[in-house]
C-alpha cells in the first residue's frame, strides 16, 4: 500500500454543454506505484488533459476519488491543494513552461523557494540536476536564450528538484524534433526510475512509449486498454 503513489478510483468528469453533459473522463480507475513511469495516450479529445488536470488538483472530479500518497484530494480545501501542488507534485507543461524572467537555475530553484527550502546544499543539487540534463553551461541563461528542448529539460529538473510524490508531464515532446524528443523522454524516464518517483506523461506520440513501464490508452473519456508487457509496449511504440 505504501508503495502506491497515485490511486484513481472510478473518476468521472462531465461538463455541461448546452444543457447536456459531456463526459470528458468516464469511470476511469488506475494506480501508479513509486518508481513507475506511465504514459497516458489517446487521440485528441479523449480526455487526457482533463485527467491530468484532476491529478494535479486543478480540477475536481464530478465523481470518484483521487488519492496522492494516500491523501484524498476531494477532502482538501483550495489552500491545501496549493500546498499539495508545490510539495507533492512536479509539473511540466507542453509549452510556456518556464518563468521568462528567471534563469534556468532560478526556474528550478523557484520550486524550492515556493517550499521555503532554498538552502545552499539544495542550490548545488539544482545545478547538478541541470548538469545531469546536459545544461551545465546554461545555468544562467534565460528561457528566451534556450531552445525548446533545453527549456523542456529545465522544466523536468524543476518538476523533480523538490522530491515530489507524483510527476506530471503534459505533452513534453510536442514542441521538439524527433531526435530531441527521444533524448528528453529517455532522461526523464531515467530520473523517475532513479529517484523512485511516480511519473505520468501525456503524449499523442506513441513512439515515446518505448521508455515507459506502462501505457494507459484512453478514448472518448474511457480507459480502453492498458499495455503492461514490455513486448506489447515496444510493439505499440514501433507502430505494429
Amino acid at each position: 500500500m505504501n508503495n502506491v503513489a497515485l490511486e484513481v478510483k472510478d473518476v468521472v468528469k462531465s461538463f455541461m454543454v448546452d444543457g447536456a453533459p459531456i463526459y470528458a473522463v468516464d469511470k476511469v480507475s488506475f494506480q501508479v506505484k513509486n518508481g513507475e513511469f506511465v504514459a497516458l495516450v489517446g487521440p485528441s479529445g479523449s480526455g487526457k488533459t482533463t485527467m491530468l488536470s484532476m491529478l494535479a488538483a486543478l480540477l475536481s472530479p464530478t465523481e470518484g476519488q483521487i488519492l496522492i500518497g494516500g491523501q484524498d484530494l476531494s477532502k482538501m480545501n483550495e489552500r491545501q491543494r496549493v500546498v499539495l501542488r508545490r510539495e507533492r507534485i512536479g509539473f511540466t507543461f507542453q509549452s510556456n513552461n518556464l518563468i521568462p524572467f528567471l534563469s534556468a537555475q532560478e526556474n528550478v530553484e523557484l520550486m524550492l523557494r515556493l517550499n521555503g527550502k532554498l538552502k545552499h546544499g539544495e542550490r548545488i543539487r539544482a545545478a547538478e540536476l541541470l548538469s545531469r540534463l546536459g545544461l551545465g553551461d546554461r545555468l544562467t541563461n534565460l528561457p528566451a536564450q534556450m531552445s525548446g528542448g533545453q527549456q523542456q529539460r529545465v522544466a523536468i529538473a524543476r518538476a523533480l528538484i523538490h522530491n515530489p510524490t507524483l510527476v506530471l508531464a503534459d505533452e513534453p515532446t510536442a514542441s521538439l524534433d524527433t531526435e530531441r524528443a527521444f533524448q528528453v523522454v529517455q532522461t526523464f524516464a531515467a530520473l523517475i526510475h532513479e529517484n523512485n518517483r511516480a511519473g505520468i506523461m501525456v503524449t499523442h506520440d506513441l513512439r515515446m512509449c518505448q521508455y515507459v513501464d506502462r501505457v494507459i490508452q484512453m478514448q472518448d473519456g474511457k480507459l480502453v486498454k492498458v499495455y503492461e508487457d514490455k513486448k506489447d509496449i515496444m510493439a505499440l511504440a514501433k507502430g505494429e
Binding site: 488536470s53 486543478l58 508545490r86 509539473f91 507543461f93 507542453q94 518563468i99 521568462p100 524572467f101 517550499n115
Partner: protein, 387 residues
Amino acid sequence: MKNFFLSVYLAIKEIARNRGRFLLVSLVIALITLLVLFIAALGEGLGNSNKQYLANLDADMLVFLEKADFVIPSSRVDKGLARTLRRVDGVESAGIIAASGTAILLPNDEVLKVSILGVEPGTPGAPAVIEGEDLQSELAAEVLIDRNVALRTDIKVGDRITIRSTQGTEDEFYELKVVGMTDGNLYQFAPSIFVTFSNWDKMRTKSDTELGRQSTTVNVIAVKVADSANFDSVEANILARVNNVEVADIPTTIANVPGYSAQQSTVNTQAVFTLLIGILVIGGFFQIQVLQKVPQIGVMKAIGASNGVVGLASVIQIMVVTAFGVAIGGGLAYVFSLTFPPTVPIIFNGTNSLIAVIALLLIGPLGGMVSIIYAVRIEPLKALRLS
C-alpha cells in the same frame, strides 16, 4: 513572511530582467510627477503671492464693513474703530489695515509694483520687523519694506526710496527712508511696504474727487483675541458694540480675497486631471502587461504559488515602479526649482507638494488595481489549457 520575501523576489527579478520596459513606465510617472508638482507649486506660489500677508498676520479676526462680502478692498471702516474694539471684552489688541497699490522707482527708469499697507506699529495689522527698526512716528517719512522687495531690487535698510502714486491725473512722488525690513508679506501678487496711516493716506492712489481731502477710513481692523477659544463670544461682543460691521476669521478672509478661490480651484482641477491621466497610463500599462503574462502566472499557480504571492508580487512591482518614478520626478522638480528667480510664483515646500507626492504614490496601486485583481483571478488551469 516567507510569502512576502518570495513576492519581493519575483517582483524585483522581473523588473531587473525587463529594466527597459519598467524604466519607461517610471519615466512616464516621473514626467507626470514633475507636472503635478509644478502645478501644485504654482498653486501654492500663486495663492501665496495673493494671501501671504494675511496668512502671516498675528491676528485672529478681521472686522469688515457689513455687506462687503469679506472683501478687503470693498470694505471701509473708520480708523477710530480700532480704538473702540480694543475696549471690547476679550479683545487683546486691534489695529488698522489700509491697503492700496503703488510703485517704487528703481534705477534705469524701472519700477517695482508694490502693495502699500497703512498700519499702526505694534498692533495686529503690522508685521514683525526682522531687521532694522519699526516705524517710529506717525508723520516721519519712514517705510518698512518686505524681504520680497529686497529680493527683487537692491534696496537695503537705511536706503531712501521714491514711490510714485497716481493721484487724480498726476503722478506724485514721495521719498521715504527704509528703517526696517519684514518677511513674508506678499499681498495681491505684489511685495509689500508698510507705512503709518498718515503717510498711507498721503501716498495712496487717489481719484480726482479724493484729492486734497484727508480720509479717516481704512479697509479693515485686525483683531487679536485674548483667548482664541473664545472667538465666537468675542465676535458676539463686537457685533453688540459696533453697528454695520461683520467679522471673519483669517481663513474666511483668505477664501474671499478676489480671485483666490477661483484660482486655487482651477489649479487643483488641473492637478487632479493630471493625476487621473497618470492613473489611466499606469492602469493601461499594467493591464496590457498582465494580459501578456497569463501563461506565466498560470504556470506559477499550477506549480504551487498562492494567489497571495502572485497578487503581492504585482502590488510590490507597481509600487516600486511608481515610487521610482515619483523619486525621479521629485528630484527633477527640485533641480528645476533651484533655477527659478524669487519672482516666479512657484513654491515647493508647502503641504501641497506633500499631498501631491502622496497622491502620486497612490496612482500606481489605483491604476494597477484592475491588473492586480486580474492576476489574482487567473486560473492555474490556464497553464495546461493554453498549451
